[in-house]
């Protein structure tokens, strides 16, 4: 990582720590939402950006995680246990959902995962005995650890931020391990990877399962953050949203999800003036970005940096950063 990039990263991390102290409660809430959605986007970035599997199911996994935590904590189970349960459950479901990925690729997989998301929504809406149906679940409690309560917005934000930090460090470590390289090989050329002796079956399932489990963990934080969940929040819209976060930030860049989630959370605020038209503007901006630079905002930044420093290194679209030897 170059020196200016490291500097930007340190300043951004500093801001993330200091910002809540001069923000209003709603600002802190949004910042927490950013941290929560970033976790889901990191998961999808792993599946899509590194392993190259298009998934439209991340929103469904956030939902499964959120309902797991809400139901378990309301039944008296400690948060830490519910958190782990959410991650594990999504890992298992993600593993099973990964099986279609073994048979079909690209657009077909997008449709299978799209169908899965709608099925999850239908189950959440129709199985009232478990999920409360369209009324949702109310009064989800924020956890306390060792007598330290996270009920206040600022303390819950720091809780989310620390979970985000731990999970992103774990992902960073995994991407530098042989697994990370295997995921890249899957994306670049699955048939070649198989012929070089890589167990593509196992790694595809793994990429899917780990990405989904991060979605579940994000949902595990989403439930206590919002304190009210209903099926509509986890319909196709959320999956599209997380997908757009990954793409807008820069899919295959480690920091892409952080940037993409920030844009998705802050843009509605910045475009208050545009009122109802903000989604139209957002959609148009995404289309322009895709036409100009499919590698997202970080791709644009990288291109600008290369132009400034005069090095004309050819960067292919979706070139992964941070996992190079």
């Amino acid at each position: 990582m170059s020196r200016p990039a490291a500097l930007v990263l340190v300043v951004a991390a500093g801001l993330a720590v200091v910002a809540p102290f001069w923000l209003k409660p709603f600002g802190v809430y949004q910042l927490s939402m950013w941290a929560v959605l970033t976790i889901a986007a990191i998961g999808l970035n792993l599946t899509l950006g590194y392993a190259g599997q298009v998934s439209l199911a991340q929103g469904a996994f956030v939902g499964i995680g959120a309902y797991t935590v809400a139901l378990l904590t309301l039944a008296g189970c400690p948060f830490a246990l519910a958190f782990v349960a959410a991650g594990t459950l999504c890992f298992v479901i993600g593993w099973v959902l990964g099986y279609p990925a073994l048979r079909v690729q690209h657009h077909y997989l997008a449709f299978v995962t799209l169908a899965f998301t709608t099925l999850v929504f239908l189950v959440l809406r129709n199985e009232e005995w478990l999920t409360g149906g369209t009324y949702g679940i109310n009064g989800i409690l924020r956890p306390s650890f060792f007598g330290f309560s996270t009920a206040k917005p600022v303390s819950f934000y720091f809780f989310c931020l620390s979970v985000l930090t731990v999970l992103s460090l774990a992902t960073w470590w995994m991407l530098r391990s042989p697994w990370g390289r295997a995921f890249l090989a899957l994306r670049e050329n699955p048939i070649r990877a198989a012929s070089l002796g890589l167990d593509t079956r196992r790694y595809t399932l793994m990429a899917f399962a780990i990405g989904s489990s991060l979605g579940g963990l994000s949902g595990a934080l989403y439930a206590p953050l919002v304190q009210f969940i209903e099926p509509g929040s986890f319909a196709l819209g959320l999956s599209f949203n997380v997908l757009l976060m990954v793409i807008v930030g820069g899919s295959g860049y480690f920091l892409g999800p952080f940037v993409g989630a920030l844009v998705a959370v802050l843009l509605p605020e910045w475009m208050r003036v545009a009122q109802g038209y903000y989604l139209i503007i957002y959609a148009a901006l995404v289309m322009v970005l895709m036409a100009l630079c499919p590698s997202g905002i970080l791709g644009l930044v990288e291109r600008a940096a290369n132009a400034l420093s005069g090095t004309r290194k050819a960067t292919p679209a979706l070139d992964p950063k941070g996992v190079e030897p």
Binding site: V54, P100, M287, A291
Partner: protein, 291 residues
């Protein structure tokens, strides 16, 4: 038995509309590798063009023609040149994202610039029930069936019997070879976009009297088109027709006989089953993969 016939005919009518949407979807996919995630919104929008023309005082038949014409320009020509062409060099995924964004754009535009409320839409024929074998069948359903059959039949004749249609098929099957044989490939690709726009406009006019014109209609319709296309076989026009009809009938039957709450789930389960057991679709060909 009477209710079965009733369900079958309304299922066939819905299925015929799904088939129209799915055929356009497959045509565009075949010739330009464009997976149009906005296809559902493409069906939602023309109804609003028609309503806007009627607001300006045009009679229904004229408004319908104006709506179809605007659709062909906006959803055919503009879609191809403004959205698809600049994206093609980047590959499939960015284009998928772009059409997802486009679906959001169209949906929100219809909501903000026309109305967020469901709008009544004039039917093609007055709704009267006629009695067939003891079942009351709505003339609306029969009209929908008739129009859809004529449209699909005309398309089939165009594709298989005329020189133009065969050139389009050749383009779909192997663009490079088609170019070598002297077929103007770029123009053929444009024609498929125009045909798609025409088909979705017809579908829109057929379905809006039943579902009302609403900005969010595209979600279910788009999904139905994808599922129909995949069930039938992504690379076959015949497959899309078959898939659409199976889907429409199944949708109505399952809602009546199994569970109306899980109505939306049956097509999805079939979709997953088809993808797992026969990914090339019922009538599709296997596509080879290369290293």
């Amino acid at each position: 038995m009477a209710s079965f016939i009733q369900l079958l005919i309304s299922g066939l009518a819905t299925g015929a509309i799904y088939a129209l949407i799915a055929v356009g979807f497959t045509l565009v996919w075949q010739t330009s590798q464009t997976i149009n995630f906005a296809q559902g919104e493409f069906v939602m929008l023309p109804a609003f063009f028609v309503l806007a023309a009627m607001d300006l005082g045009a009679p229904f038949w004229l408004a319908a023609l104006i709506g179809i014409a605007i659709s062909i320009v906006v959803l055919g020509v503009l879609f191809k040149f403004v959205v698809v062409d600049p994206m093609l060099r980047h590959g499939v995924l960015p284009l998928v994202i772009s059409t997802i964004a486009l679906s959001l754009l169209l949906k929100e535009s219809a909501k903000d610039f026309y109305s967020a409320q469901a709008q009544p839409f004039p039917p093609l024929v007055p709704a009267i029930d006629v009695h067939v074998l003891g079942a009351a069948v709505s003339t609306q359903n029969l009209a929908v069936l008739a129009v859809a059959i004529v449209a699909v039949g005309a398309l089939h004749l165009l594709l298989s019997k005329t020189r133009l249609g065969r050139s389009m098929q050749a383009t779909a099957q192997n663009a490079t070879l088609a170019r070598i044989l002297g077929i103007p490939v770029r123009r053929m690709v444009l024609y498929t976009f125009l045909i798609n726009a025409l088909l979705v406009a017809i579908a829109s006019i057929l379905i809006s009297p039943i579902y009302l014109a609403k900005f969010s209609n595209g979600e279910t319709l788009g999904m139905a088109a994808f599922i129909a296309a995949i069930i039938g076989g992504f690379n076959q026009v015949r497959g899309a027709i078959l898939g659409g009809i199976i889907l429409g009938v199944l949708d109505n039957m399952s809602a009546a006989y199994v569970s109306s709450q899980y109505r939306g789930a049956f097509p999805l389960i079939i979709l997953i089953a088809v993808i797992l057991l026969r990914p090339q679709g019922l009538l599709g060909r296997v596509e080879e993969r290369t290293v």
